[in-house]
């Protein structure tokens, strides 16, 4: 019923979909799987009319279609159940279901009774008991997913896209959702189902398509393949010698944290970090790695946690204390919480260390600051349009180098870097990797959080795998023996 031919898409010159083919049949559940950034979400957003494709054809029911707006796709019979729900919490279930296709009279006044009745009928058909008059905000996330499905049904959708519908559901809610999905399937509705949970996909889907790096890798009948095949297809590439060598020498424990918890995100995290070591934190987006690191410096209020730095107990009650003691956290989001984009690079690099740059009157010495910035420009090969350029005018890779320089200027003993090379080109990436390894070799303990599996494996001497706010595995990687399959096994539910 849906047939995509050679669909391409790029963002800011970065191609995220390379001439992709994809099709869905009526009455099938078609699973879509791939690593973060493989292009799945971009693809389904194009199908649902939220993004515009750059090239290629989309056929729906044998007709060439070109949706400029989500509403057009909905009218044509394509609905999407979003990962972050698109429902409005303050208004009722019935009103949410009929939003933008209200049952109303010619003057535009809503017929609430008809809408409630319509919603109740849909719920009855789905076999679920949800009160159409309840505000959506009072429902559990699982119930809200079902309301989204009901909305799709009310629009007479013949193709429903579900973008990670189970990522925040409990086992019981997932089972309930699957009952509904099977029923939809039996009525000839096509379903695109995105999930990271392989076991789920094997349970619910008929066919499975793997994406990697914006390319369609394979489409297979679910009966023909195994979990191992899928992981192999998802991961695919070989790492080669892209990364610097592992630690030459690992010293004593420099930092220990015990029972770090953050309510709703992280549970009882305990680990230690040694001098000269790079510790990698792997896991899927949302598995609690970033939240755990932010909880350590108490950037987000933690529930519990004890810390030892160089064998002496420290409280780490706020990011300022952490920094004073030499524990520096580098945010994953350089634009929002990493850099002062409106200022030049010297102001950014010295932001945490202004007290070091004083002239003889005790005032800030811009000259000293600028000299220091210049040394970083050399060591990190930061490319500037001009000396006084604002940071916002730098490329992503150079911004990331400035961010790293800012973190290095306080001379940390423990450096925690979150997604150190996100959205950075290959050249800057290998330079950042080399600097991080040099730093470890000089005796600093380094923690790298990364969603890019080759990076975690290529860089780390030891890897902690996160899932559901907990560490599910600790893998020794001194010899480089850890494979992506090993990490993936511990990062996903089976």
């Amino acid at each position: 019923m849906l047939d995509l031919r050679g669909v391409t898409k790029s963002f800011f010159g970065n191609q995220v979909l390379h001439a992709v083919d994809f099709n869905v049949r009526a009455g099938e559940v078609h699973a879509l799987i791939g690593e973060n950034g493989a292009g799945k979400s971009t693809l389904v957003n194009i199908i649902a009319g939220i993004l515009k494709r750059d090239g290629g054809d989309i056929m729906f029911d044998g007709k060439l279609v070109d949706f400029g707006h989500p509403l057009e796709a909905m009218t044509a019979g394509i609905s999407m159940v979003h990962q972050e729900l698109s429902l409005v919490p303050n208004i009722s279930v019935a009103e949410n279901i009929y939003l933008r296709h209200e049952k109303s009279n010619t003057l535009g006044f809503n017929d609430w009774r008809a809408m409630r009745r319509g919603a109740a009928e849909i719920f009855e058909r789905m076999g679920v008991d949800i009160d159409p008059a309840a505000p959506v905000g009072s429902l559990s996330v699982g119930m809200q997913q079902l309301v989204e499905v009901a909305k799709a049904i009310s629009l007479n959708a013949r193709l429903i896209i579900m973008d990670e519908p189970t990522s925040s559901l409990s086992e019981k809610e997932i089972a309930e959702l699957f009952v509904v999905v099977r029923d939809l399937k039996a009525r000839g509705i096509g379903i695109i189902f995105i999930s990271h949970k392989l076991s789920e996909l094997f349970e619910i889907s008929d066919r499975l398509t793997v994406f990697r790096d914006g390319q369609h890798i394979a489409t297979k009948d679910i009966a023909e393949i195994t979990t191992e095949d899928v992981i192999q297809m998802m991961v695919g590439r070989h790492l080669g010698d892209l990364f610097p060598p592992k630690a030459s020498q690992i010293g004593d424990v420099v930092f220990e944290c015990t029972n770090v918890s953050r309510f709703g995100y992280v549970r009882d995290l305990t680990f230690n970090l040694r001098r000269g070591e790079i510790l990698g934190l792997a896991g899927l987006v949302g598995s609690g790695r970033t939240e755990a690191m932010r909880a350590i410096v108490n950037a987000d209020r933690r529930l519990s946690g004890r810390f030892k730095l160089n064998d002496s107990e420290v409280s780490l009650s706020d990011p300022f204390e952490a920094m004073r003691r030499g524990i520096v956290y580098v945010s994953e989001d350089r634009k929002q919480s990493g850099l002062f984009l409106g200022y030049d690079i010297s102001a950014n690099i010295g932001a945490s260390t202004l007290q070091h740059y004083r002239n003889r009157f005790g005032m800030l010495s811009r000259a000293a600051l600028r000299n220091k910035a210049r040394t970083y420009v050399d060591t990190m090969s930061i490319r500037l349009p001009n000396v006084l350029a604002r940071t916002i005018d730098l490329s992503g890779g150079n911004q990331q180098k400035v961010l790293l320089a800012k973190a290095l200027d306080p001379q940390p003993t423990v450096l925690i870097v979150d997604e150190p090379t996100r959205g950075v080109d290959v050249g800057a990436k290998s330079l950042i990797h080399a600097r991080l390894r040099e730093l470890a070799e000089s005796g600093v303990g380094v923690v790298i959080v990364s969603s890019e599996m080759p990076e975690v494996i290529g860089m780390s001497d030891r890897i902690l795998v996160f899932r559901n706010g907990e560490v599910t595995a600790e893998l020794d990687n001194r010899s480089g023996a850890v494979t992506q399959e090993m990490v993936m096994t511990h990062a996903t539910h089976h």
Binding site: I50, H69, P70, L71, M74, H82, L85, S86, L87, V88, P89, N90, I91, E95, L99, R100, E102, S104, L107, G108, F109, N110, W112, G127, V128, D129, I130, D131, A133, A134, P135, G137, S138, L139, S140, V141, M143, L146, S168, L169, S170, E171, E176, V179, F263, G264, Y265, R267, R467, N468, G469, E470, T472, A473, H490, H493, H494
Partner: protein
């Protein structure tokens, strides 16, 4: 195929509705208590003359608060209403007194001009993607300057009998501006509660991303709402000119804050997504009654601002507490889910 039982949602729903209802009943009860209290202690409160004074005192701010309710629900704010109000006074006065236009023509031209100012507000907000507080503050100050400049700081008077009716005339024994307020509140209240166009405001105020994903033309709706707000402020200005018998640039100074206070006291979330006309009307009545209590009790009226300020703070504090509670509830749901997954997968890894 086990049906999904959701007893919880029903219980929670009635709880949610109860909170809103309790809020309104509470506000109404406090208002009534103050009214009866002042009657009991000082007398002369529940007389026709005093009630008229009481109502007329805040009726213009009340009309502006109606438009403000729409703006606030959609997640915006309109500070410019006060100077649109004074501008309408001056424009309608100039058109009648200086240009000699007939009353209906002057009113229509004035209202259309105010609608245009609202459209400009809305357009700048959606086009520049600047927070409405800045854009409408710019309009507030600019227009106040215009008002001052085009009148040289003097007031304009000399209106016809027919025009003065709009300020002091009575319909069924009630002052025309109050009748206007009641009718407008009823019409807008019904529209906001039931009309599919106005229901979109709650969606936009709840989050612009979901609103866009649902196919709502967010920019268009926003512009129309600022047009509505400015038009109501213009209408209030025209009636005020008739009421005072003169147009002056200083009229309505700080009215925007009183209108916002009424909306906030009436239970709307200042960040958008919730609020009702009924709540705003209660908020307006509350502020008017508190003011009246000062007048009748002969306590220095200057203290009035202190009390309405404190009331506003209390109202905002309460809504903040509710938000925090909701946030914590969400965290609790997350934690429960984590616990559940952790128990169901225990022993399978590590």
């Amino acid at each position: 195929m086990p049906p999904i039982i959701d007893r919880q949602s029903r219980a929670q729903r009635s709880a949610g509705q109860k909170t809103a209802l309790v809020q309104y009943i509470g506000l109404f009860a406090i208002t009534l208590a103050i009214l009866l209290g002042t009657q009991l202690f000082f007398g002369n409160v529940l007389t026709a003359a005093n009630l008229e004074v009481l109502a007329m005192n805040l009726v213009f701010e009340g009309i502006m608060a109606l438009g403000m309710t729409f703006v606030v629900i959609s997640g915006g704010i309109d500070l410019s209403v006060a100077s649109v109000f004074a501008f309408a006074e001056i424009l309608v006065a100039k058109l009648m007194v200086e240009a000699g236009l007939p009353v209906p023509a002057a009113i229509v031209i004035t209202l259309v001009t105010c609608t245009g100012i609202g459209a400009l507000n809305g357009f700048m907000i959606v086009a520049f993607r600047v927070h409405p507080i800045i854009i409408t503050m710019g309009t507030l100050l600019t227009l106040r300057g215009v008002n001052l400049a085009i009148t040289d700081g003097r007031s304009i008077s000399g209106f016809s009998e027919g025009f003065v009716f709009l300020g002091s005339g009575k319909v069924l024994g009630i002052n025309f501006p109050i009748v206007f307020f009641i009718v407008t509140a009823l019409v807008l209240g019904v529209l906001l509660a039931n009309h599919r166009f106005f229901r979109q405001l709650y969606v936009i105020g709840g989050g612009e991303r979901p609103a866009r994903l649902s196919g709502i033309n967010v920019n268009r709706v926003k512009i129309i709402i600022y047009m509505l707000s400015a038009t109501l402020a213009g209408a209030a200005g025209i009636m005020a000119a008739a009421r005072y018998g003169a147009a002056h640039w200083g009229h309505g100074n700080l009215a925007e804050l009183k209108a916002i206070a009424a909306v906030a006291v009436g239970g709307a979330n200042i960040n958008g997504g919730s609020g009702t006309i009924g709540g705003t009307v209660l908020g307006v009545i509350f502020l008017a009654v508190v003011h009246n209590a000062f007048v009748t009790s002969a306590v220095n009226t200057f203290w009035y601002d202190v009390v309405s300020g404190v009331m506003l703070l209390v109202a905002v504090l309460l809504s903040r507490l509710t938000q925090r509670r909701n946030l914590f509830a969400q965290l609790r749901i997350r934690q429960a889910k984590m616990d559940q997954i952790a128990t169901s997968t225990k022993g399978e890894s590590l």
